[in-house]
Amino acid sequence: MKHARHRLLGAAAYLLPALLIFVVFTLYPFVLTCVQSVFTTNAKGDLIGFGGLDNYVRLFQSALYRISLKNTIVYIVLTVPGTMVLSLGMALLTSRDRKGMGIFRTIFTLTMGISVAAASMFWTFMFHPTMGLLNTAIEMFGGEKIGWLTDMDIAIVSISIVTIWMNTGYCYLILLGGLKSIDKTYYECADIAGVSGWQRLKRVTLPLLSPFLFYVLVISVVNAFQSFGVIDMMTHGGPANSTNLLVYSIYEDVFVNYNYSFAAAQGVVLFVIVTGISLFQMKIVERRVTYQ
């Protein structure tokens, strides 16, 4: 028995720093958020009275919350597949070592080094209604100006474009690494068997790449749920709340409306959704992943 107790003490010493930070700055605030979500709070954030599940009831009754939930789902449906298809395409095209591939690889990973604030600025210039690049180009070809950030239906597409543009770098890096890690012998026997092109992609490359695709999928979904920077810098949730996503609505409730308990409830619901989806992905999707 002496061994077990001894090991526990040894392990504690190594774990303590990380655990300390985790408890103080992640666990404690999260527990407090859960507590706040069932209480009512005043502008200073002190708990006043026990509110029970009023916040949650009001949450699902409020039209604005339903809108932001809908927006988030639309946002995910646009960004996650978009990011995966684009980064997969790029990875496949640059996996073989050919002349000039180095340049393309560097360019494709470029966006990973760009911050949310900077990316938002780049695209604010691109989307500017009068002197933005996109509208000027459209007008040059005789098209009609598009309200990228002012049109209710297009705004969500615009911020999805920015998000895809930002996330591609990271996902591309993972998928390229994945392609490189596939054992060459699989391709050799595919070549011998005369399987090539589309068939090879479907039967050899994708299955063997599935652990990486799965990893990129999980990361993209979690990031999409928690994305905030682009909205805060470009559209402030507008126009007409069409880009008001879950985290932005929490930000607004905390910093604008001082409804800490209402925001706390939204925070808890967001956590449940994200964990639920991640567990779902772990259980269901992972089954179809083939590990080498």
Binding site: A11, F22, F104, T106, I174
Partner: protein
């Protein structure tokens, strides 16, 4: 590859490259012209205004912010890597009963959106008197769950026999950690360091909340303040500031790219 499909391949690649780089080029263009040209939609600046960059540095105090960003990002990265190394080592090499639960706890940390916890963390920092200090910005960000995940993946590839051999040779835990585990995880450590530096450098809302004075604010806040100002948008200045903010990380990406790719792939292989 037939000649025809090779040409097609390169055409598509160039198109994709243009798609990725264009926002950057357009901003560089803006940062070199002056407002009058921009206003009436004339893009190719006849005269390159490099003084925009100088003005951006002074007016928006960017040099100051950049110094803070470097300090904060460097110290955060160092702590994140150190803590992740220690925690991952305990989880992999010291088999105690609760190690699975502890790892699960850290992983759940990845799910909690940081933005939700900001006000509470602000109150904690304020109570601890750490407002307006680098520590105030850094401490809440150094518990990197991703770091522990990545290093644990890597450490699991180290054969357990090395630990047993060390136990028998009479070498202490820390000696084995320092002399064997850390050197063998060098690759992942560098990958994690580059990743953490980028995340910390790009950190956006928390540094603003954790500070009330300009002395300790990071560069992303400078950019946010510049763009969110409700006055007439001074496009060329904002464009120049944006470029100044982005160049350091682009350079880091340029060099860290291959190392990052290798490390992250290993991390992804559960």
């Amino acid at each position: 590859m037939k000649k025809y499909s090779l040409a097609l391949l390169y055409a598509v690649l160039i198109l994709l490259a243009v798609l990725m780089v264009f926002p950057l080029l357009f901003t560089i263009l803006l940062s070199l012209s002056d407002n009058a040209d921009i206003m009436n939609g004339q893009y190719w600046p006849q005269v390159l205004h490099f003084e925009n960059y100088a003005e951006a540095f002074t007016k928006a105090n960017l040099l100051y912010y950049m110094k803070n960003s470097v300090i904060v990002a460097a110290v955060t990265t160092f702590c994140q890597v150190a803590l992740a190394l220690l925690a991952a080592y305990a989880i992999v090499f010291i088999p105690f009963r609760g190690s699975g639960i502890v790892f699960g706890l850290f992983m759940s940390g990845m799910m909690i959106p940081m933005d939700v916890l900001m006000i509470t963390n602000f109150q904690t920092i304020n109570a601890a008197g750490l407002l307006n200090t680098y520590a105030g910005i850094i401490l809440p960000c150094i518990g990197s769950a991703f770091g522990i995940f990545l290093l644990r993946q890597n450490m699991k590839q180290i054969p357990l026999e090395l630990k047993e051999a060390s136990d028998i040779a009479g070498v202490g835990q820390f000696y084995f950690f320092r002399k064997v585990v850390v050197p063998l995880s060098k690759n992942s450590i560098i990958t994690l360091a580059v990743y953490c530096f980028l995340v910390s450098w790009n950190n956006y809302l928390w540094p603003l909340i954790a500070t009330t004075k300009d002395e300790v604010r990071t560069i992303q806040i400078g950019l946010r303040m510049l763009s969110a100002s409700d006055t007439q948008q001074d496009f060329r200045l904002v464009a120049a500031a944006t470029m100044i903010v982005t160049i350091p990380t682009l350079i880091l990406m340029f060099f860290g790219q291959s190392r990052l790719q290798e490390g992250l792939t290993k991390g992804a292989l559960k």
